[in-house]
């Protein structure tokens, strides 16, 4: 129900300490406070979260799908950029 009074918001949830906020979906709300409440009610009902961010969808600048060749294909052939030649010690945890 997109109306001028209820713009779209993107919701990010951090599930545990030490992890990053992760995009989980979007919702409609009149303002940031209501968006935060709605995010809590829609996306953390099953104990998914410790922290919530909401961001106006209009604040996000997205890459153009038509440019994906130029944007992403050059990286596909450069396997030497993958850190696969050494092992990360377990104690390091999430990187």
């Amino acid at each position: 129900m997109a109306t001028p009074n209820t713009p779209l918001w993107e919701v990010f949830i951090r599930s545990r300490n030490g992890l990053a906020h992760k995009h989980v979906g979007s919702l409609h709300a009149s303002d940031a406070t209501m968006a935060l409440q709605a995010a809590r009610d829609i996306y953390t009902r099953r104990g998914e979260g410790l922290s919530i961010w909401v961001v106006p969808s209009s604040a996000i600048t997205a890459s153009d799908p038509a440019e994906k060749g130029m944007m992403f294909e050059p990286a596909e052939s450069k396997i030497y950029r993958h850190p696969t030649f050494y092992e990360v010690p377990e104690d390091v945890g999430h990187m």
Partner: protein, 258 residues
């Protein structure tokens, strides 16, 4: 109705738990009526969440009432096999949903009380009630915040939303006095440290309401004539309809389980 009502031995403590259980169940059921009908998906979820919180509180309180009574009743029998005159909830919580503003004003009045009430009940000498209070307090605190934010937006929103919120406040005001009333049985429980005196919460309850109303540019009524009767089973005509829906399955197919 295919099955007869149960009898409940309403000792003061049984009655005390039963009254709070009935508040939570009836209000939870009212909110559940919005499921699939709320003005936006986000609120459909929010109201259903609150309904589930309240029904969870009701279950614990019914179970405790049944345990204290010790006559073979349980949470299901207490919820499904008492008729209108045996229900002990506040008149406020059985009032129809009306429009979205009326639902949220009802929630606001109740949650502003419940938040204070459960926080105070955490010090009850009855360890079960204190434990129920500790859980319910966090839920009620959020219910209050949710409702308050809506009241502010209704009041400070459009001319139409302001009008609807004010009409709801004026309409429901007379049902708020019952929250602060006590009878002799409850007075004894208060004296014993099992219950708290709700009268002591009224000042802070009014402060919460005034702060939100002022931000919303809404007016709280000055009249102090209050409806009562719910606590002793004298209800408005609305509760019977609610219960006939809530209880229809168990009344038609006694003992049915999912």
């Amino acid at each position: 109705m295919a099955i007869s009502n149960i009898e409940v031995a309403e000792t003061p403590l049984v009655l005390y738990a039963l009254r709070r259980a009935d508040d939570a169940l009836v209000l939870g059921h009212r909110l559940s009526e919005w499921c699939g009908h709320a003005p936006m998906l986000e609120e459909d979820m929010a109201l259903s969440n609150i309904a589930l919180d309240l029904i969870g509180q009701a279950r614990e309180l019914y179970s405790y009432a049944a345990k204290v009574e010790d006559k073979g009743n349980d949470e299901d029998k207490l919820a499904y096999l008492r008729d209108v005159r045996q229900y002990r909830n506040l008149l406020l919580v059985e009032q129809p949903n009306g429009d979205f503003a009326q639902t949220l004003v009802r929630q606001f009045f109740y949650s502003a009380f419940a938040d204070l009430y459960w926080r105070a009940m955490m010090t009850s000498r009855d360890t079960t009630l204190a434990a129920i209070a500790a859980r319910s307090e966090k839920e009620s605190a959020y219910h209050l915040r949710h409702a308050s934010e809506w009241i502010i937006r209704f009041g400070d929103g459009t001319e139409e939303s302001h009008k609807r919120a004010q009409v709801a406040i004026d309409h429901l005001w007379a049902f708020t006095g019952e929250m602060f009333a006590v009878d002799d049985g409850e007075r004894a429980l208060i004296h014993a440290g099992v219950a708290i005196d709700p009268g002591t919460l009224r000042g802070r309850w009014l402060t919460t309401l005034s702060e939100v109303a002022s931000e919303a540019m809404l007016t709280l009524p000055q009249n102090d004539w209050m409806q009562q009767g719910g606590r002793s089973g004298r209800h408005s005509e609305h509760l019977g309809h609610l219960l006939s829906e809530l209880q229809s399955m168990q009344r038609t197919f006694p003992g049915l389980t999912w």
